[in-house]
């Protein structure tokens, strides 16, 4: 039981002690703020969306987040808005007017969630041009087929100069360190390691997009959650001639924003990763830390020979990602160790792509994910090759035999075929509801041809 204080629709609230894993959604609904709905409780439908005031350089931005995936204690010190706050003085805000006029609601159950996301988009500080309807990619609607919602989004102009806009010029709330029996939020890596040493059962939580699902859907319960959100070091991003360094706790939305000059593969990876709403919270550290065999980041980073910066009781160390995954959902992390950053060495190979194959084109988990990278000498012969896959084994992996076989070869159809047969010999995927083993194996091979064909 933890008591929590935060700003809700502009008013300070002090939530009564609740069980540690009470979601923000359940709390809000219990308080009579029933605009946010429970449509799935796993971050997939967006019906529960609320706005969080998040840092945007030195000022703020409204970030749409899934309230079903946030535990109430994580809210401490935050500032949030729910749909009930948007129509002030009984006057609909522009987004609400546009949605109503366009026929953007039928049953209306999904509507508050769309409104929240579109509101965040209308007020997005770095928006140039029209509102991007894809920002609502994490909102499902079973009734409308989306066209009227797209039209509502495209009809919006710049955000009006109102109190919501004025708020954004100030910094977002600074999150302070917290220590209580069930919930800790350290401000430094060292303090975090110390907590993990003292309580080996403590569970790290970054964005909570995995942890929240585990709690809601699989009923996992933890006695002690350690939030990484207040550790500035984990939110850093820097680039120099030798490397790109991404803080393990930086949400994907910020990676995309900060790495604006990244090669195309980065956008291929990030724009198909979950939904914008999930990306507003989800982090790279969490995506690697969970060691999911179907996580999208691992194949991408394996193709770049990325390494991880770790911190633990024995101090700091660096480990190649290739050596990090040791088995099904197993990593080389020692007890009380955490990932602090991901390092991508430069130069980034000349040819590098990311491919995601899934049943639905957007916001779906990969059936197969692949990232491939090639470097060449002056004669256009391959000097270094990486063929990395997710979804084809108990962990993300590189197909070393295929990488070796193409060295010294020109990147031609016969070379492609050689790599394909090496892949066919090495991968033993499984069948499940996302795809059959035969499909996975065939697609893993044909993606090599796609890589060759499209370059």
């Amino acid at each position: 039981m933890v008591a929590v204080q935060f700003l809700l629709n502009g008013r300070p609230v002090s939530a009564p002690p609740v069980p540690l894993q009470t979601t923000l959604l359940d709390y809000l609904r219990g308080e009579g703020l029933t605009g946010a709905k429970d449509g799935c409780a796993e971050g997939e439908c967006g019906a529960c969306t609320v706005l969080l005031v998040a840092p945007h350089d030195s000022s703020s931005a409204y970030r749409a987040v899934n309230s079903c995936l946030m535990f109430l204690p994580m809210l401490a010190g935050h500032e949030i808005h729910t749909v009930e706050d948007l129509a002030r003085d009984n006057k609909l805000c522009e987004v609400q007017q546009a949605m109503a006029a366009a026929g953007g609601s039928q049953c209306g159950y999904c509507t508050p969630g769309f409104v929240m996301n579109l509101f965040a988009e209308q007020y997005r500080p770095d928006r140039a041009g029209l509102c991007d309807p894809h920002q609502m990619g994490g909102n499902l609607c079973r009734c409308t087929g989306y066209r009227p919602i797209r039209d509502a989004a495209l009809s919006l102009g710049p955000a009006p100069a109102d109190a919501f806009q004025a708020r954004l010029s100030r910094p977002s709330p600074r999150l302070l360190a917290l220590r209580s029996a069930g919930f800790s939020r350290p401000e430094s890596v060292e303090e975090c390691v110390q907590i993990l040493v003292e309580d080996p059962a403590a569970k790290l939580v970054a964005g909570g997009t995995d942890v929240g699902v585990e709690s809601n859907q699989r009923g996992s319960r933890w006695a002690h959650l350690v939030s990484l959100e207040a550790i500035e070091e984990l939110r850093e991003f820097s680039e120099n001639d030798d490397r790109v360094l991404i803080g393990a706790g930086l949400p994907f939305t910020d990676i995309l924003r900060r790495w604006w000059n990244a090669p195309a593969a980065v956008a291929e990876w990030l724009l198909t990763f979950a939904s914008p709403t999930v990306r507003n919270r989800a982090t790279l550290g969490g995506n690697l830390g969970n060691a999911s065999p179907i996580g999208d980041s691992a194949p991408l980073l394996l193709a770049l020979d990325a390494s991880l910066h770790l911190a633990g009781p024995a101090g700091r160390r660096t480990i190649l990602l290739h050596e990090f995954f040791t088995g099904y959902r197993k990593t080389a992390l020692n007890p009380a160790e955490l990932i602090t950053a991901i390092e991508i060495p430069k130069p980034i190979p000349a040819l590098w792509r990311f491919f995601k194959v899934s049943k639905r084109r957007m916001d779906d988990i990969s059936t197969v994910a692949a990232s491939m990278a090639l470097s060449f000498d002056e004669q256009r012969r391959i000097t270094r090759a990486r063929f990395a896959f997710g979804g084809v084994a108990d962990r993300s992996l590189r197909v070393l035999s295929a990488e070796e076989i193409v060295i010294g070869q020109p990147w031609t159809k016969p070379t492609v075929e050689a790599a394909q047969s090496a892949i066919a010999g090495e991968l033993k995927p499984m069948s499940d509801h996302r795809g059959s083993a035969a499909y996975r194996l065939a697609v893993a091979q044909s993606l090599v041809e796609k890589f060759w064909h499209e370059g």
Partner: protein
């Protein structure tokens, strides 16, 4: 005619103020939460149920079991074949008992502690296994016309088999019911249901109460699509029983995963056929057997199967046909109504067959379709004249022109010739959909309209609002009939205490029926007021006009509507009226398979263009053009919404929505993370929608036509476009493609085409 404006609840939707059943939770002090004890097997005998440990758990109030039921512990709508507390578990996760707790978490903890012992029994998990075991819930049903042996003499004869997947409703609001004992000792229920009268019936049955003791109300639903027609009943029964036993309010709300695991879906089908065509593409004979996967109980599977059989013709004349249908009993959820109600599966079969024939005859698929259209004077294989048959051709021609079909087809052929890894396809399909309940007695509706002395109006009717815009349309009908502005009309939640003995809101007939009943009540009231107004205005009754809240007569100073209402009260003229409507002229005899089951047909057609990629089977919908006959649209924003939303839902059914059960009968795609609905990526890049002009439907409210279900089947054009694109990877020969056309199926279908031969 004026327009109806945006959705009647639009303001409530965008502000979050519109309430749904579960939003009422905070209004019930001392409410208990229910959670089921679920069977871990697809088929098993329940040997023993021990609730002691659960009852000893803090926060657990009680456990509901069969012993608690004062009445009949069965929620099956027609056949009474759904025991509330089964002794034999008939599908994986079926509820065998319910725990009531002070909190949801307490109920869940309690449910985990109920010890149940089972003896596993062999399950039947596929249609093929059901056929082999002769496991049928119903059938054979037959519909026959002409002499099907004609097909033996046809120039082209072939046989085939098509597998059609089911579909999860995925209404955004999951099933929910709250029951409590009211101030006078009756049972009250708030629930999300398309059929409050049946929810009332089931609650009364379980509690052994006369129906007058049970009141059911539905505020609105967060989507339903057929999934809350009968499948909302069990949760109402549990909540009502819980409230009866404990005297406290009880809430049953299914989480998304539970909802998917426990409730029925669109029926999967297996269709086997033999057919014969003349060289010019005319169909000469069709013999088909339709096997639907009904799951564990009957539910609505029979009328759904009939509708599949009625719609095996879609828009085509089947001169010689013999259809046989079976509902298979399997150990799965009990499959149920879903937008289209069997119609989509029947239509998919005939469209499949026509395409297969076209590719064998070397004809264009759209040409073979056109060749077989119904013409004026034709009747269907069940003996109903095809009213307005010429509209099929008219819609076809207009859409072909407005979508530039021919030019785009040639453009696509050129594009494909230069593109080895990506191919585009375009296809066009029609829809003819019969409107009315095939259970004739459901085609009735009631209304209760109350006018208050100030001229404000409450409208009650038996229909339920699930997003389809029924109340938006009804509000306009009431406003125009009474001659008041839209704002003067307040639509009340659907309540069995206001309008009794209602039909479900389904079969696309919600507005046809309830709109007509409301119009009936409003006309009655207007005529009463006319007399009063004539006296006030000092004119003849026929001269009185009601318009926009003003009551007038030529040369007289108009009066506010409220003024006339006040006067009516003073003159002791009743200001409330009941309305009633029943659809005329319809009848159907399931034994002979003949009759006139439908009051009219809704027509439409669609053109879809897709692009496929051979590396992965990825599919993109580039452009969609729809043309639908909605009669005189009652509400353009609503009707367009139904067309687009129905199309995208159909697209989901036919492409990415895949229900998979594992070898133990567990639903492997239970949850939003594994079952994928269309999202933004499925929205067609170009999406054009138009209504057929000059299409007034006589005899239907304001000349309109039903629009809820038909557009779902327009999405068949997208499936056929996919097939066209697959064919472009090879020589253009027949393409086998089971449904849904997932990327994996497309991928392997492309491979099969490529192996058949190089590009034509």
């Amino acid at each position: 005619m004026r327009d109806s404006g945006p959705h009647e609840s639009a303001r409530g939707h965008v502000t979050g103020a519109a309430l749904y059943t579960d939003d009422l939770l905070g209004r019930f002090p001392r409410l208990l939460h229910a959670w089921p004890v679920c069977a871990p097997h697809a088929h098993a005998a329940l040997l023993r149920l021990d609730t002691d440990a659960a009852l000893a758990t803090p926060g657990v109030c009680t456990v509901l079991t069969g012993a608690d039921v004062p009445g009949e512990g069965n929620t099956g709508a027609n056949r009474h074949d759904e025991p509330m507390f089964p002794l034999e578990a008939m599908h994986h996760q079926q509820a065998v008992a319910w725990v009531l707790g002070e909190t949801l978490e307490a109920a869940q903890r309690g449910a985990a502690l109920v010890r149940a012992e089972y003896e596993e029994l062999p399950p039947i998990l596929t249609i093929e296994a059901a056929i082999a075991a002769d496991s049928y819930l119903s059938g054979p049903h037959r519909m026959v016309r002409g002499d099907v042996s004609a097909l033996e003499r046809s120039a082209l004869k072939f046989e085939g088999e098509l597998r059609i997947g089911g579909q999860e409703h995925f209404y955004l609001e999951t099933q929910c019911a709250i029951a409590w004992l009211d101030e006078t000792g009756g049972v009250s229920v708030q629930c999300s249901t398309q059929h409050p009268a049946e929810a009332q019936e089931i609650a009364a049955r379980v509690l052994n109460l006369p129906r007058s003791q049970v009141t059911v109300e539905c505020l609105r639903m967060g989507g339903a699509f057929g999934g809350k027609e009968v499948q909302s009943n069990p949760w109402v029964a549990v909540a009502a029983l819980g409230a009866w036993k404990t005297g406290r309010p009880v809430r049953v709300r299914l989480t998304r995963k539970l909802d998917m695991a426990l409730t029925g879906k669109r029926h999967p089908y297996l269709i086997r056929y033999a057919t014969g065509f003349a060289e010019d593409g005319r169909m000469e004979g069709l013999r088909a057997t339709l096997y639907s996967d009904g799951g564990w109980s009957l539910d609505l599977s029979e009328p759904i199967l009939w509708r599949s059989m009625f719609h095996c013709d879609n828009a085509y004349l089947l001169p010689n046909v013999e259809l046989t249908g079976y509902v298979c009993r399997t150990h799965k959820t009990s499959q149920t109504a879903f937008r289209g109600f069997g119609g989509p599966q029947g239509m998919l079969a005939i469209e499949e067959i026509l395409d297969q024939a076209a590719r064998r005859l070397g004809m264009r698929p759209e040409a073979i379709r056109e060749r077989n259209f119904y013409r004026e004077g034709n009747s269907t294989h069940y003996g109903q004249p095809v009213k307005d048959a010429s509209r099929i051709q008219r819609i076809w021609d207009e859409l072909k022109a407005s979508s530039s079909f021919e030019a785009r087809r040639e453009e696509i052929a050129r594009w494909n010739a230069d593109s080895p890894y990506r191919k585009r396809g375009i296809a066009m399909t029609p829809v003819k959909f019969g409107v009315s309940f095939t259970a004739t007695f459901f085609n009735q509706a009631g209304a209760l309209v109350l006018i208050f002395r100030d001229g404000s109006v409450q409208v009650n009717h038996g229909g339920t609002e699930m997003g389809q815009g029924l109340n938006t349309k009804v509000r306009r009908i009431a406003a125009e009939t009474l001659g008041v502005p839209l704002e003067a009309i307040r639509l009340m939640p659907t309540n069995t205490g206001k309008v009794p003995n209602t039909a479900p809101t389904a079969a696309s007939a919600g507005t046809d029926l309830n709109g007509a009943a409301v119009a009936n009540a409003c006309s009655e009231l207007r005529e009463r007021l006319r007399e009063v107004a004539a006296a006030l205005l000092d004119c003849a009754a026929v001269e009185v006009q009601f318009e926009q809240g003003r009551v007038s007569a030529p040369g007289k100073e108009p009066l506010p509507f409220g003024r006339v209402c006040e006067e009516a009260y003073r003159r002791r003229v009743s200001l409330s009226a009941e309305g009633y409507y029943r659809t005329p002229e319809i009848h159907y005899d399931p034994k002979t398979g003949r009759g006139r089951p439908f009051y009219y047909f809704a027509y439409g057609a669609a053109v879809s263009e897709v692009e496929l990629e051979s590396f992965t089977g990825d599919c993109r919908v580039r452009r969609v053009d729809l043309l639908e006959d909605v009669g005189d649209s009652l509400a353009e924003v609503i009707d367009r919404g139904q067309l687009e939303g129905g199309f995208v839902q159909g697209l989901g059914w036919l492409t990415i929505e895949e229900l998979l059960w594992d070898s133990h009968g567990r639903l492997a795609t239970a949850g939003a993370s594994t079952y994928k609905l269309p999202s933004w990526s499925e929205l067609p890049e170009v999406f054009k929608v138009s209504f057929l002009p000059r299409a007034t439907e006589p005899g239907v409210i304001f000349g309109s036509k039903a629009v809820g279900e038909p557009p779902l089947m327009l999405a068949i054009s997208a499936r056929e476009a996919i097939r066209e694109a697959i064919a472009a990877f090879g020589s253009g020969g027949p393409v086998h493609l089971d449904s849904p056309a997932t990327p994996e199926r497309i991928f392997f279908a492309i491979r099969a085409q490529q192996e058949q031969g190089g590009p034509a």
